[in-house]
Each structure stands twice: as C-alpha cells, then as structure tokens.
Symmetry: C2
Subunit: 466 residues, 2 copies
C-alpha cells in the first residue's frame, strides 16, 4: 500500500544513488585526465575513435542489461567524453590558433575601412545579381500584399514548382509535401542536422568541407567524425574508411558535390557505393547540392537513388545570384520535411512571403542559370591556366565556384600565414585551406569576381610565392 | 613512467566505471518509476519543485566533494529527471491531448479548403499591411543591388538607427554593437535561449505565455519552470514564488509585457522588483517587448534598468504590420549580441539585405505606428464591452492585441472543446487557453480583424455559450 513513508524512503534512495553517480563521474573525470596526460606523454591524439567505439558497444550492452534507453545511454556517454575533453582543454595552453576565413574577412574589412582596395577571392558570392524578372516579381508580390506569415514549410505554389522541377530534372517523382522552403540552403543544413541528430549522436563529414557542417553539428552537441580525402586520389572518398567509422551512434553522412572547396563531382559509381553503404547501415545521407547548376560534367543527385534515406539541400543563392534573398529548400521524405519545417516554425516562422513568390519567378529563368554557369566555368578555366603556369598542383574542377590549389608540397607550409601575408602585403584575400579541414598547405580561390580582378589577384599571389 | 600498459589499465577502469554509472542510472529510473506510481496513487503531482530543489543542493554538495563541475552535475541531474519523466510518460495513457492553437488553425484551414468561410480570431497577425513607404523602400533597395549577404548581426545603418531610437525612447545609451537584427522577434527569442541556456539549465516562464518560449527551451533540452499568474490577482507575478524557484541551474526569467495573451503591462514597481531579484540571483531577464508600441498605459522597457543582465526582444512585425518581412531585433550587452549573431550566422547567415533597408524606412513611420495602435485599442475596447455584456470575466488589457476571457468559473470546463465546437458549428476560430499554460477555462480573442468580423465572431460565440 503506497504511503508517505514509502515515498520518503524512495526519495532518500534516489538521493543516495544520485550522489553515488556524481562520485563515479568525479572518479571518471580524474581517470580521463590521467589518460590524457599519458597520451600527451606518448604523443598520441586526444580523441581515439577506435577506443570510443569499443566503449560505446560496452555502454550499449550495459543499457540493455540495466534497462536504460540506448540512445539516452550513448548521449550520456558523449556528454561525459565532452566534459572530460572540456575539463582538460582548460588546463592545456591553447596557444596557436589556426587562421580562419572569418579572421581573413574581418581583417580585409578593417583594411577597407582604412582606405585599402582589397581583391576578394575568398567569398562564395557571385558578382552577378538576380535576374531582372526576379526583382520585378519581388516588387509585384509586395504590391499584391504578399507580406504575411506563410506555412512554415513554404507556400504550396512554390513547393509544387520545386517538386515538378526536381522530378523532371532527375526523372523521379517528388510531391510538394516532400519539399520545405528554408532560409537559404544553410537553414536546410542546420535544420536537417538538428532533426536527425540528438546530442551525442555522430555525423560523418568528408573533408575538405564547407565549415558550416561541423559548426552545426557542434552547435547541437553532436559529434563530428571526419574523414579525409586528398588531391592525389582526385578527392575521392574511400568507402571502406567510411564504413569503418560507422557505429550505432552514427546517424548521418554529409556529402557536397559539386564540392566546395575542391570542385570535385563524384561520379555515379561512387555515389552508388556511398548510397549502398548508407542503406546497409541505416544512415541518412545529407547531400548539399547548392552548386548542382554549376556542374561541368554529368551530375547525379542523391534524389536519383530512391530507396536511400536522404535529404537533398539546394538553394536559389548560387544558381540565380540571389544570395541576399536567403531562400533555399530541402527535399526528403514527408516525415523529415515535417521535422525541418517544425524547426523553422520554432526559429522564425517562415521565409518572407514575397521572397517565396520571387523564387517562383526565378525557377523560370533557365537561360540566366546557364549564362551564370558559363561565366563561372570560363573564369575557373582561366584560374586553372594561371595556376598551371605557376606550377601549382590542383584538381581541375568538375563544378562549383572554386579552385583549391596546393600552395606547397610541404605539409608544414602554413597557408594561413601565406594568406595573411598576401592580404597585408598585396591586398588579396583568399581562404586558407585549414578552414575546410586538415589542409594547411592549400588555399581556396573563388571565381566570383570578374576575370580582370581574378587575374590581378593571381598575379599578386605569384609575387608573394616567388 | 606512462606506458601502453598503464593506458590499457586506465581505459579498462574507465569502462568499468562507465558501466557502473549506467547500472545506477537504470536503478534510479526504476525507483523514479515507483515514486511516480506512489504519487499517482496518492494524487500528488509528478513534478515537485521543492523535492527537486533539495535534490539539487545535495548534488551540488556532491559535486564539490568529488571535484565535478557544478554546472555539469546539475545539467546531468536535469537530464536524469527528464529521462525519468519521459520514460514514464510513455507508459501512461496519453489519451486525451489538449487541443492547441495549431490544431485549431489546421482544422480551420481544412474547412476553408472545403468552402467554409471562417472568422479568424486566433491569429496574432494584424489585418493592416506595411506602410506604403516601406514597400517602396524594399523595391528601391533591390533596384540598387542590395541583394547580398550582410554581416550576421545586420547592416550598420539599421543597427545605428535602432540604437538611437531605443536610446531616445527610454533615455538610455545603447550602441550599435548592442543590437542584432534577426529574422523576426522569434529568432531573437530562439537565439537568446540557445545562447544563455545549456542543456539541463532552467528558465522560468511566467504563465500564461506565448508557447514559443517553452518550445524553444524544450527544443534545446533546457527545463521550463512555470509559474502561474491568475486573473483574480490581475495577472501580477508573485516575486516570492519566483524567488523560491531560483536555484543554481536557473539561468533566465522570461517576461512579456504588454502580455500575450492577457494584455497585462507590469507597472514600474513590479518590474523593479523582478529586476532586483534577477540581479541578486545572477539570472538574465529575457524581455519580449514586441507589443511595446501597443501599450495603452505607461510601459517600462527592461532596457531602463541598466545594471540588470537582460535581453530585450522587439520586432517590426507587429508595430509596422510587417509580419511577412520576418525582421526583428535583440538589444543586450555586446557579448550576448555576439553570441546571438553567431547563432544566426550558423542558421542562415543574415536577414535579407533589402529587408534590412525596408526596416530603416519603417523606423521613420511613426505616424503609422500610432495609427495602428489606435485601431487595435478601439477594437479591444469593443471586444471588452461585448464580453462584459456576455457576463464573462476578463482583465481589461493595458496593451497588446488580445483579450483573454474566462469562459467559465469552473476549472473543469474544457475551453478546448468549446473552441472546437465554436469552429465546427459557427466557423469562428479562437485560441484555447491551454495553449498558453494551465488555463483550461480561458480562450484568447485576437483583435487583428475588422470590427465587423470581430462583432460577428463574438455574436456567434455568444450563441454557443448560451
């Protein structure tokens, strides 16, 4: 018979167990600290995926044994690991920090305020604006009073048009319920990661990569598992390495073709192998395809692989020169799209209504898309020719806006310092390779400026390299 | 001397301790389950803040004793409590779910698709659009090519204008670095909560409240601590009750005056008492002031209390009829604004550039703001008069868009069902009180429609009530 005294006794027990848990956590943290000291002494990396994976299986076993929700157990474990890393980071001198593309941008802006003229080869924003028709459509929509909240997933007309356009392009059958209109491709990425991962879950990122993926994963306390690709192998990801990293916590693989920064497009066979792996291991593929209209060789969307759990992200920013409109979209299964829309509803309700009408008009501007792609392609060819003359190694881009040359064969070469010198001495801003992962001897050159500016920027770069 | 074998031994110990932690958690969960059974049998509420507070002090003591970071310990405790609540929620029959404002809206939309004409008294979106000058300014900005990415915190001109306008209005001194332009007031709320709270941290929400606060707190796995206010006491929050709920996990108190849904404006003395408490206990006040231009009696912004850690949220949506532009702002200390901007950079870069220019123009439209406020005030007066004739109890709004009448003195009255009947039988949509907290016998009527529609809606409501 339940009573006040039983309740009191139960509460006392809970309190004691809670305190015992805290005691063990304190013990665990001190052991982790000792492990890190040992590792540092032995020159081993702080994070060891293999050891972590073993620990995870052991935690999963315990969860089963003691009737604890597995996902909760893994989440808790990852919090413990993070706290151990955090606790020891405080004690380590964080001395030399890598120079990021943001540092570069801020410095360039400061120089401009002080009167310098900087050539911006670091930004991923094309110099051409939106087609005239899009501008006019925006104004028409405002005049008509399309200035209200919309459904979080976006207005039906636009979702229909996107569903049709995507279906036609890839020979598939997508419904408007499978489309969410988001604030740029970026919010699609953000909301996708938030809706698929729980804190402590893992996502595999193929490097080099746009830093937003890692930033989003870390912001929601997920864990980034990085896998490197390299120039020598044509930036092709190794399927077996990816396979080895997948475990019960792995919820997502993030891919981006045409790739920022390398310009790589993964051929169909490679896509197929990735898709097969993802299906076999029940992992969602997040495919960032914002550069798909800038493919210079055949491009295969993740959407062509029907059976795979995937989210395809695209955007109006790059294809239509509409960066400042902040509109993009995600295509996925109905349930995932609902989750993404709920996150958007939570964060800011919906994309401005009249901007959604502008996007409807943009979808009709197919000639502009082709024209823009040709402009970028010619510039990239020109950049490549110049880099060749400079005797630098690079991958000839299959698409996107960028060339990603190796500035030195020597991995100890500090391209961050090089980029800084280039900016200070020659007023040319480029993105250091370290922005995109462990690529200290690379830089990214963006073809978003006129040929003249590009050529002048490269000429000055050549002077510093000499 | 550190060695491979020491490392192995340490790792083994970590694994064993981790598994022991999981075992204790399993035990703890089963005890929590038993406690909840006992509580249910005895008719006690599931969550007991007093017991929680004792548990927390005991955890803090343990943290000190065993050298665990206090915040980490408390966060962990909150996760354990949440998991216990979650685990048992699954086992309870979730049968009767409260009807939310979203359910109402979806049903109303379905009825409309099927040909019905619904009177929408549930939406918080005024029927007047933006001033003409704002529309023109948007188009001008697009024509001038303001279609690019901007700084995540927003363009300097707009931040300056807001800083000046706020400084002038409240007799304070705010700099542009203390302002972040966000996608509506909603994103300010979202990013504020995300930047101040860590998972497991607590935020106090004064009910009745706009559901977005709780949604945002829960989305990032914080804990909502609700405190009720009531009609009989003029919706005045009790400072002592709030004080009793504050503990080391409490990071934020969320206030919203003029209030949605009650229309309450807290007078200066009340604000001062809240501010003093927040300062004494080192808690940030998040003050949602999106209705501040709709105050019918003196309004005090949180910004007038300089020494208090606070974030003031405002928006162009309500004041300028610009809901569909999705632009608002946060004002706080420089460091917090930086955090909010970083979250915005992560989620979608920035608010569209030309919309920021439109907002610059909006700030000049002071006459429109006054005109809009007068329209709403007249409608609210009219609604109140009608409710009085219907013999319903309500608080005469000091501001905002809404009236929040008590439909029945009987707390077992189901205003959700009432709202549903009203919609189905009379095609009038209102927001059930349960949307805003534990107010099952209230509904919210929004004054965002014309007087005619409002009167007709109330007339039909009267028929159902009879």
């Amino acid at each position: 018979m339940p009573s006040e005294s039983e309740l009191e006794a139960l509460r006392k027990e809970v309190r004691e167990i809670t305190n015992e848990i805290i005691r063990l956590i304190g013990l665990r943290l001190s052991l982790a600290k000792r492990i890190n000291e040992v590792k540092r002494f032995m020159g081993l990396p702080i994070i060891d995926y293999k050891v972590e994976r073993d620990l995870k299986s052991s935690v999963i076993d315990s969860c089963k044994k003691y009737n604890v929700d597995e996902r909760f157990g893994l989440r808790l474990l990852n919090l413990l690991i993070d706290e151990a890393v955090r606790a020891q980071k405080i004690s380590i001198d964080e001395g030399k920090k890598a120079i990021s593309v943001i540092d570069m941008f801020v410095l360039a802006k400061r120089m401009e305020r002080e009167g310098s003229k900087v050539i911006h080869l670091e930004v991923g924003e094309p110099d051409f604006g939106p087609p005239k028709r899009v501008k006019r459509a925006t104004y028409d929509a405002i005049s008509k009073g399309y200035t209200h909240y919309t459904e979080p997933s976006g207005i039906l007309n636009l979702r229909e048009d996107i569903a049709n356009s995507v279906s036609e392009r890839y020979g598939i059958d997508v419904s408007p319920e499978q489309v969410a209109i988001t604030s740029g491709g970026r919010f699609s990425v953000y909301a996708s990661i938030l809706s698929i991962l729980s804190p402590g879950d893992e996502a595999i990122v193929i490097q080099p990569a746009w830093p937003a993926y890692v930033d989003c994963i870390e912001a929601m306390r997920g864990r980034t598992i990085s896998i490197k690709t390299n120039l020598e192998e044509g930036w092709r990801p190794d399927i077996e390495s990816i396979s080895n990293l997948i475990n019960n916590s792995t919820k997502m693989i993030i891919i981006n073709y045409p790739n920022n920064p390398t310009g790589k497009v993964l051929e169909k066979r490679g896509m197929k192998a990735l898709v097969d792996l993802a299906m076999e291991r029940n992992v969602t593929i997040l495919s960032d395809e914002v550069y798909s209209n800038y493919s210079f060789k055949p491009f295969n969307s993740i959407l062509e692989f029907h059976d795979c759990k995937s989210i395809c992200v695209s955007s109006f920013s790059k294809s239509y020169g509409m960066t400042g409109f902040r509109i993009g979209y995600a295509v996925s299964d109905v349930e995932t799209i609902r989750k993404i829309s709920r996150i958007q509803a939570l964060a800011f309700t919906s994309v401005p209504e009249f901007i959604q009408y502008a996007a409807i008009e943009a979808l009709k501007c197919k000639d502009d898309v082709k024209r823009y792609a040709n402009i970028i392609r010619e510039r990239i060819d020109m950049v490549c020719k110049t880099l060749k003359k400079m005797n630098l190694s690079y991958y000839e881009p299959d698409g996107a806006f960028y060339v990603f040359p190796q500035i030195s064969k020597d991995r100890s070469f500090d391209a961050g310092k090089f980029a800084l010198d280039l900016l200070k001495e020659k007023k040319v801003c480029v993105a250091p390779g370290i922005t995109f992962g462990d690529y200290p001897n690379f830089i990214r050159i963006s073809a978003c400026q006129s040929e003249n500016l590009l050529l002048e920027g490269l000429r000055r770069m050549c002077e510093v390299l000499r």
